[in-house]
């Protein structure tokens, strides 16, 4: 009978593993420091009354001391809004909300003015938000002013008009002309209706309240779920501007729900695990980075901390990593969402399962000892069956007082991922060189893998290398680490890695060099040996140099593969490169200067010969004109030619073509004119001679 019951329980536990194991942490000091950073004054005041309220409320919930500058800035904006007659109900609402925390004094006259304007707003309200601000404002001022006689004139009428915005699926609309409905609006509506109930001068019709309870249950039917067991509300994304997001929507619904539960007398029957799921949703966010998100999270958790529906209790671990060798104990804490103490309860460890295996629980169900001083539930010694590795522990929380069951909700079972580490014993480690055929040991060395080794071996391609060792867990069981590698590195930095296989506790690798010759690229020489044994659960993972081995391998044949190029030190890529020296074209061999000068002289010779020949021929200047005018022209002609030749010399020496052409064109024109005059005069003279 007991056996079948146990078997059934085991089956139940196995099925429940299908859900992912995750733990949620309650609010801690990291939240408090983040709040101080996020909610800061911008030039001495917050941007709006809404933000003022959010900052004050967050500080109040987290128990952060009120800073004087924050309070004075808040009081300033509150009194400004309260005093002004043109403040809208929304401004008054947030001012009064902030004032409920800041507790600044409001004048009697001002509060009277507020009451009358809010009453007028209630009667003139047409949309959900109008009702929300005006009714909410009246509720707040009732608590804050000395005048306790604030009632809603026609509470039932107002109730019905707000209820008119509800829809059949539990959601609410914002106004009669806007058909869009949302869960966020539902939360606001519930808060407003709770306010109406509290302001009513006489009892409201109970049927109204019970229909509202039905609406709440229908709303909770539309709750959505994530894989890790968290629940939340979300609206359909229709209009980007109006979309609120799951965080603010869920927060609004929770606010409405708890406000409503606070004013009604009966019970709102909501399953406790839905509340627990909502609590996990808010805790699962961690520390938000945005002030608004932070406020929504903290405000919702404050609603969950104390409400009339059910208060969730959160189980958390101080550390999810436990060392078997150091004999750590498992410490569990159960608190409310904001970290306050839980009522008397016991925590039981009902099962522990190795991750990734569907075997039965490794531990018997046992109770954890409660330490009054620290508020922790402690399991001092891990059971023998828990060895190194990763596990899922299943806890169950049982409340000691039966009345607490109505107030608190703990959840059936909480799964927590636990990682157990420990020192792994490495024994009998040795390295040997064996003769291939006979298997006889040629040389053997014992290794101390925990310390330094400098083994020196030598082998040729006909032999084998064997490395073996034993691993066992602190509890004495076999252990297979994630990494067991033997690396051989040649002098030329070529590396080879081999996995060390195991059978049970014994780990061994045998390198048969005959088969590895080609893999080693026929490189003989000194190889450094390095052993790596590592695992996440191993506290003494090691990477040790064992020593070196001189390998004598045969010569590489023609077609053998070359070893891959070893990567150069990557930083040398950015170092300076080899300097490039430009090799200029070797200048042509020039002849010796004397030879060139000699030939220059030789070139002048024909000119001299020409001049001498001219003299021998009897050259004379008889035809040179004697009369002054033609003589001038003749002289100018010769001067002109000489000038052109001079210009050519300058052209060769330093002028460029364009300058030369410019001058030559001028000289040419001059020369043509002068030459024409001279030659025509000569022609006339010779014609005269001929005719004469």
């Amino acid at each position: 009978m007991a056996r079948s019951l146990a078997g059934f329980l085991v089956l139940l536990l196995v099925i429940s593993i299908c859900e992912a194991a995750s733990l949620f942490q309650p609010i801690s000091d990291s939240h408090r420091s983040a709040a101080l950073e996020l909610f800061t004054l911008d030039h001495g005041s917050f941007k709006s009354l809404e933000e003022t309220y959010e900052a004050l409320r967050t500080f109040q919930i987290l128990g952060i001391e009120k800073k004087p500058d924050v309070t004075s800035a808040a009081c300033r904006s509150i009194s400004e809004t309260v005093g002004s007659s043109s403040s809208t109900p929304k401004d008054l609402f947030y001012a009064l909300k902030a004032n409920s925390i800041a507790q600044c004094k409001i004048h009697e006259k001002a509060s009277k003015g507020i009451i009358s304007s809010l009453n007028a707003a209630v009667s003139g309200a047409s949309s959900l938000l109008d009702f929300y601000y005006s009714v909410g404002g009246l509720v707040l001022i009732k608590d804050q002013s000395s005048n306790a006689d604030i009632h809603l004139a026609d509470a039932e009428g107002v109730f019905r008009s707000v209820k008119a915005f509800s829809q059949s699926d539990g959601r609410w609309r914002y106004s009669s002309n806007n058909p869009e409905s949302s869960a966020f609006a539902a939360g606001i509506a519930l808060e407003t209706l709770a306010g109406i109930v509290s302001l009513a001068s006489s009892e409201l019709d109970q049927s109204l309240i019970s229909t509202l309870r039905n609406d709440v249950s229908k709303l909770f039917d539309s709750i959505e779920k994530y894989d890790d067991g968290t629940l939340y509300f979300d609206d359909k994304l229709v209009d980007g501007r109006e979309y609120q997001g799951p965080l603010s929507t869920t927060s609004s619904v929770l606010r409405g729900l708890t406000a409503f539960a606070a004013v009604t007398t009966g019970n709102i029957n909501l399953p406790g695990d839905k509340i627990l799921g909502l609590a996990k949703f808010f805790l699962g966010i961690g520390v938000p980075g945005d002030a608004k998100d932070f406020f929504y999270q903290i405000d919702a958790l404050a609603c969950l901390e104390s409400n009339r529906v059910s208060i969730p209790l959160i189980l958390s671990l101080s550390s999810a990593v436990i060392s078997v060798t150091k004999k750590d104990s498992l410490k569990v804490r159960v608190t409310t969402v904001l970290g306050s103490n839980a009522p008397p309860l016991t925590v039981k460890l009902v099962g522990a399962f190795s991750s990734g295996s569907k075997d039965a629980s490794l531990v018997e169900s046992q109770e954890l000892k409660f330490d009054q001083g620290s508020g922790l539930h402690i399991l001092n010694d891990l059971p023998e069956s828990i060895d190194v590795g990763s596990y899922t522990f299943v806890f169950e929380v049982v409340l000691q007082e039966p009345e607490d069951e109505k107030v608190y909700v703990t959840g059936s079972q909480t799964k927590a991922p636990i990682f157990v580490t420990g020192l792994i014993k490495i024994e009998n480690s040795e390295i040997a060189v064996l003769d291939s055929d006979l298997g006889s040991v040629e040389s053997q060395n014992k290794l101390d893998l925990a310390g330094k080794n400098a083994v020196s071996l030598s082998a040729n391609h006909l032999q084998k290398l064997r490395l073996s060792f034993q691993l066992s867990t602190p509890r004495g069981r076999a252990f297979k680490p994630h990494q067991t590698f033997l690396k051989l590195r040649h002098e030329s930095k070529v590396e080879h890695i081999f996995v060390v296989g195991n059978s049970g506790k014994k780990f061994e690798v045998v390198l048969n060099f005959l088969g590895l010759v080609e893999k080693f690229y026929y490189l003989s020489g000194k190889y450094d040996m390095e052993l790596t044994v590592g695992d996440a659960a191993m506290e003494n993972s090691l990477l040790v140099a064992i020593g070196h081995i001189e390998l004598d391998l045969p010569e590489a044949p023609e077609k053998a593969p070359r070893p891959p190029l070893q990567p150069v030190d990557p930083y040398s890529r950015y170092g300076p490169k080899a300097e490039i020296t430009h090799i200029f074209r070797a200048p042509e061999k020039r002849p010796p200067q004397e030879l060139s000068l000699a030939f220059l002289g030789l070139t002048i010779l024909p000119l001299l010969g020409f001049l001498i020949g001219l003299l021998r021929l009897g050259v004379n200047m008889k035809n040179f004109p004697t009369k002054p005018v033609p003589a001038t022209f003749a002289i100018l002609f010769h001067v002109g030619i000489g000038a052109v030749l001079l210009l050519y010399m300058f052209f060769w020496l330093k002028l460029d073509l364009f300058q030369t052409l410019k001058v030559v064109s001028l000289l040419g024109v001059f020369l043509v004119f002068v030459g024409h005059r001279t030659l025509s005069h000569l022609a006339a003279a010779s014609a005269k001679l001929k005719s004469a």
């Binding site: 042509e588 061999k589 020039r590 002849p591 030879l595 060139s596 030939f599 030789l602 070139t603 010779l605 024909p606 000119l607 010969g609 020409f610 020949g613 001219l614 021929l617 009897g618 050259v619 030619i641 052109v644 030749l645 050519y648 052209f651 060769w652 073509l657 030369t660 030559v664 040419g668 020369l671 043509v672 030459g675 024409h676 030659l679 025509s680 000569l682 022609a683």
Partner: protein
């Protein structure tokens, strides 16, 4: 032997007759011939220089040689035009031919100077 002697004698006789015929040419033509000879000699010397030391600044060599050859060609043209026995250029006054010669030489030498480098 006799043929050799006769051929030798023939060559000598030919040379002498050429020489005497040449003496009959007018002086201005002889001047032009001398000028042509001078230009060709200068060109030859330049070629010998290039042959001995290599043609490294080839453009300079070309411009030098072409200057000589060019001016020789222009002088030959001048000779043709000035020669009174040449019926083709009977109407062309020699001064005009000379003016052409000067102008063409100036243009030639501008180009040569540009190419000399």
């Amino acid at each position: 032997m006799a043929r050799e002697k006769s051929s030798k004698g023939n060559a000598q006789a030919l040379f002498h007759s050429l020489r005497s015929a040449y003496a009959a040419t007018p002086v201005n033509l002889k001047i032009i011939d001398l000028y042509v000879g001078f230009a060709v000699f200068t060109a030859l010397i330049q070629v010998v220089y290039m042959a001995s030391v290599g043609s490294f600044p080839f453009n300079s060599f070309l411009s030098g040689v072409l200057s000589c050859v060019g001016t020789a060609v222009l002088a030959v043209c001048l000779r043709i035009q000035v020669n009174k026995e040449n019926k083709e250029f009977k109407d062309l006054p020699p001064e005009r031919a000379f003016a052409d010669f000067v102008l063409c030489n100036l243009v030639l030498h501008l180009v040569i100077m540009n190419f000399l480098g």
